[in-house]
Subunit: 336 residues, 2 copies
């Protein structure tokens, strides 16, 4: 394998800095989902922790290093999950955390960032606008800025998921992973390809936010003017060249999926696994839905990477919605 | 602690017989839930495995022993989850599994039992009627009958959850556990009380199925004529005296909750944790809702014991429902 920014020994050592709450997440076959999709589907579940996404694996590494070196503050731009994770990791280590996010980010993500005690700075514009503002704040205040996929700790954190996947490949030969900035896909891909070379790594991104996928296929950075997807967690326009270079080494393929497939993936995870997930976490299932022939009979694992989603939007997308409450509502109906 | 049927060394050894898929389930604080309920709430999550309940911990022990002793078949009565777990564990060890269940058990549980290759025998009547039929089948065929809470392996399996809880008591001083036959509560309670004596063990049962709770308070078996609860997993009428005797040793309290609290608990787990759970798994949250004063400021852990629930019923109970599909439905709405 060609060289990337990542290093296996460093990733293995980084596990020590991460609260065990975020490590060794469940990996299990979801038989109902597999029967529905015509292949074996295992879920690597990154939503059953205090911040409901995988991002704390990286922020734990960063915050513990900052605290060890006596730093008092840190800032990041975030689509929502990185900010929440940094708020959690920073709070537990006495760091002042500032998160810059788009005003249009899911309210639930913004609320949780505030609830965890971080300063929240909202910008008009999208994730890439938030990144510019975070950079400015970091310069003004002279504090460390955490940048997803650019700061290698964010990739190392994601790569610890890959270590866990590679340690238990008895049930899968393909890993489907959401593609946004590339930290998750690049990190998971690196660890998997380092330790389980036979496993295929397929990145999945929405048609409505295709910058990194187009860049991967073109082997050079391609930016887009805008994004149009419900998968807010992966909606970037400006790929980072280092993250792309790493991804070119470790990914076997990168595919784009329709919004309707993402929604259907969310619905299948609800019905077959009892899991509410955010759109980005359903990208792997969406890819299975869109190319049943490719995956027929295969054994697939997908990283369910986050579940921070506004419930109103969720019900609207997935086709459930709060039922009207009757004026004279009694107790709940009982089973026969 | 007075003697029970359980033995710590035997339980610790039993872990070896259990597929790691079912062990070391997540235990994590759900901060949003805690903020809503005015106490710290950690979830011990037993739903993220192939059978979506804790029951496989026990059936793994049983099936591995049966297979080791050359047995070819096994039968059980089940409210749904034990049968599914035994079907999983038996199939993986070449055992013919027969499950007797009530015709009124949730369809999703019956379907999964069939999908896992077990023979399904349906009875008119409730769980206790299914138990009688399972006993008859066991006699006729000369095969081992697995009986929840009576067979000590079912308690030992549950007790492995208690081992895991006792190993990490940094975040809680009270454990809330669903009470049905007593296998779960008795097993968890035994391990917790053996290894973390300071932790309070509180059992929770529906008002509509109070037999074991009434028995615990009366210190003798009290049966009921019928049950009336949506919590099908804990709806028994005839407590087992041995299970009661064990429970009297290890439980600090047993409380009854209203159906409306169970439903509200399910809704809170959906909204704050992104988890669809079956009614029995929300009993702990229901107890917090019904006695906020008692638990105010406390640090509580609750075992989220299963998520096998008919989605139609779930939406009806929790107040969500499938939205009508417009005649000219387009793609999903996109985020601004």
């Amino acid at each position: 394998m060609r060289k990337t920014r990542l290093d296996l020994a460093r990733i293995q050592a980084a596990r020590q800095a991460i609260d065990p709450l975020f490590l060794d997440s469940p990996l299990y076959p979801c038989t109902g989902l597999g029967e529905d999709l015509g292949c074996s589907v295992s879920l690597k579940l990154e939503t059953v922790n205090p911040v409901r996404s995988f991002k704390a694996r990286g922020t734990e590494i960063i915050a513990s290093r900052l605290a060890a070196s006596g730093r008092k503050a840190v800032v990041c731009a975030s689509a929502g999950n990185l900010g929440q994770a940094l708020a959690w990791s920073g709070r537990n280590r006495g760091l002042d955390v500032t998160v810059v996010a788009s005003r249009s980010a899911p309210a639930v993500k913004l609320e949780r960032i505030r609830a965890l005690g971080a300063e929240l700075v909202l910008v008009d514009g999208d994730y890439d606008v938030a990144c510019e503002r975070a950079a400015a704040i970091a310069r003004e205040r002279g504090v460390r800025r955490v940048e997803d996929s650019v700061d290698v700790e964010t990739c190392d954190g994601a790569a610890t998921i890959g270590l866990e996947l590679a340690a238990d490949t008895s049930r899968f030969d393909t890993v489907l992973v959401a593609l946004g900035t590339g930290a998750l896909a690049g990190g998971v891909g690196f660890a998997v390809k380092s330790l389980a070379t036979q496993v295929e790594v397929v990145c999945v991104q929405p048609q409505g936010a295709p910058a990194m996928t187009r860049s991967w296929h073109a082997r050079r950075v391609i930016t887009t003017e805008s994004t149009d997807t419900i998968a807010d967690g992966v909606a970037g326009r400006v790929p980072n060249p280092d993250a792309l270079a790493d991804l070119l080494v470790v990914a076997d393929d990168a595919v784009l999926v329709e919004e309707s497939s993402i929604v259907e993936g969310m619905r299948l995870l609800l019905d077959h696994a009892g899991l509410v997930v955010e759109p980005s976490a359903a990208l792997g299932i969406a890819a299975l839905l869109e190319d049943r022939d490719r995956f027929a009979g295969r054994r697939v694992a997908t990283v369910v990477c986050g579940s921070n989603v506004d419930m109103d939007a969720y019900h609207r997308w997935v086709g459930t919605r709060p039922a009207p409450v009757p004026a004279a509502a009694g107790g709940p109906e009982r089973a026969g």
